[in-house]
Amino acid sequence: MPTLVKLLAQRIALGLLLLFLVSILIFAGTNILPGDVAQSILGQSATPEALANLRKELGLNDPVVTRYFSWLGGALHGDLGTALTSRLDIATEIGRRLGNTLFLAFWAAVIAVPLAIFLGLLAVRYRDRWPDKVISAFTLASISVPEFLIGYLLMFFIGVKLRWFPSTAISYRPDADLFTRLESIALPVAVLTFVVLAHMMRMTRAAILNVMQSAYIETAELKGLRMFTIIWRHAFPNSIAPIVNVVMLNLAYLVVGVVVIEVVFVYPGMGQYLVDHVSKRDVPVVQACGLIFAAVYIGMNLIADVVSILANPRLRHPK
């Protein structure tokens, strides 16, 4: 057991270190410009007073290391500063939107994950037959079109032409009843599901096929076991880690997909908040959102790592 605990502690410590380094990177990313951030935010026509004010506000007169640590210290206490453009507290703003984004991502995941695993299994079961081929053609198509276009295609045909669901999520209210909320996010959820489904299916298929080609599956077959017993007793326990890995990887991807989809469907979440403030060059908001997205992404990957360590019999039962 001690090796296992040690390994897990190492992974988690590594994740935290990574997050710390990422915060440096994000901070540096907004400070690497040759020249003056204030100038580039306000443009060439800015008055000297406006520039001086902005510099003061951004703390640009302090050395960069001081600025970084005061920013990081604030972030650790939940103080993300105030937005330059709206003067609103960033933490409260994000608090309102993060829930909406998670609500969207959650329902996309609830639909996409079981569906992808089921279809992945189907592709394995009917390998090289038509269900498998349909699935791989579908994958090729879906990696060839950007998310936002899939969004508009659905909006155009289902939302506008067929009128099955509201074509935008602009009317979304977090305090409405669940059914209304779900109806208004039907299309964005469909797009997100579509986007991650193909990848997840393909990777699930590959992961299970990999296990099914192991010699111990042959041993099980030569014991005269039924296909179902073989999959359930022999393939499944060894597929958990790779499948969790696939799921986590795609959930991480989902979080990024959300950014674009929120813009398409005018959904009041983190993604739209981020994109809006990038165009407005509102650096503190961008830094805060970037950090949160990166943290979620790193967290997902960390969970995948932890699960694969826990699922490894060599580590669970050391010699």
């Binding site: 041993t219 030569l222 005269g224 076991l225 017993t229 326990p237 060894n238 060599r314 039962h317 010699k319």
Partner: protein, 545 residues
Amino acid sequence: MSDPLVKVKNLKIGATVYPPGEKPHDIEIVHGVDFELEKGKVLGLIGESGAGKSTIGLSTLGYGRGGVEITGGEVWINGRDILKGGLGALRKLRGSEVTYVSQSAAASFNPAKKIMDQVTEAAIRHGKFSKSEAEKRAVDLFRQLSLPNPETIGNRYPHQVSGGQLQRCMTALALCPQPDLVVFDEPTTALDVTTQIDVLAAIKQAIAATGVAALYITHDLAVVAQVSDHIMVLRNGDMVEYGDTDQIINAPREEYTQALVSVRSITHEEKKPTPEPVLTVKGINARYRGTNFDVLKNVNVEVHPGQTLAVVGESGSGKSTLARVITGLLPPRDGKIEFAGRNLSADLKGRTREDLRELQMIYQMADVAMNPRQTVGTIIGRPLEFYFGMKGKAKRERIQELLDEIELGTGFIDRYPAELSGGQKQRVCIARALAAKPKLIICDEVTSALDPLVADGILKLLLNLQKVEDVAYLFITHDIATVRAIADSIAVMYQGKVVRYGPKSQVLSPPFDDYTDLLLSSVPEMRLGWLEEVIEHRRMESAGN
């Protein structure tokens, strides 16, 4: 006279092959084979790679690996043609009447489940025994197979026991449901020779105790001679010869069988050491980076010009590490290497081009020792260009000369490695080494990946070249027969130390140290009753202690 347990008639097996760049197509890999097997008897199936022996073995379970399919003939087991009954009937047969032991137990056990669960699974699922009966039976089998802690070993996971033990667990897995027939598919091939003998003895005892019939598949005639009543020799999907073990070993009728029996009977007169060794290895200690133990401990050996030093040992003995130290890939912690009268730099970077040229290397896997994107001409021509600045016609002529020397002749110069057979690939590697006109060639298990007859050809070639080119070999191998065939002097390695070293005649004659004795006595000999003799001998010795 009752019906035989197994009766195979005109068995034909096909496979779909996927040659790169071509359309997949079907080929026949077994062309109509017949045999019978009585209850409680053991039939050995022997042949080189591609003979179809595993495929035939698996056909008694109605199983084809990958794209392999039984295309014709009949397989009768217990009075039923198993090919006629459909998948449901096959399922009842597999794991109940017929079971299977594979070459690699490590891969064939599910890493996520305890050994006991896997050993008893078939017996329980087929309703042959209750869970507790099956577990009791498994413990008995563990004991019979001389596994340590038979009561508790089943609670372990596959990775928690050694390779030899796991192979015995696999045998227990096959015997647990009380089958009528067990198919043993090269069960000892992946094991070290001193482990192989224990597993072999355990399998033989278990077969005798349970009265089960067996198909024993192997490429090693000496091994199969110890366990089988009858032997069938196969080649390229055809039966060559069938007979009882005594006849096949002692009076083979077919030329091919005779060749298999007399394999490794090359005789080589030992040469006397010269006063000036070409390579002297002095007091070498070495370890891999990031580890804290020495893989080589105070190693001292010498190689004499035009002679062969065989370094012999099992996996983990440090013999390949010695090669890495001599070539400069792994600088030793201390000790020194003298070569052709000069001190060799410990590090590859510090060696002169002359040092590099005169010390060449041939690898075990010829497949990966040649760049697949280079032609034979480029592979052999590069050392000529690199060391001697040869170009154009002169280079091409020299390449052809070398090709003639390795008995390949014309037409090979523009081929790619993928277009050569295993033996031809190894020959090209030999030519590449010779092209540098070396004083010493390190041969790292160069014949281990080859079929015995092909390996014999390579050894003969090496011996001939030694006479012609006056080159010395440092020959690393785990195979005592190879050592006998080519060595002038021998170093036996065990756990990083040279435990015995000297001229061949002296090393291979008694009195032996314990390890050399164990090693030499474990090498299967091609005669009946050898296994019993050794086991009896060892039992007496341990009783005497």
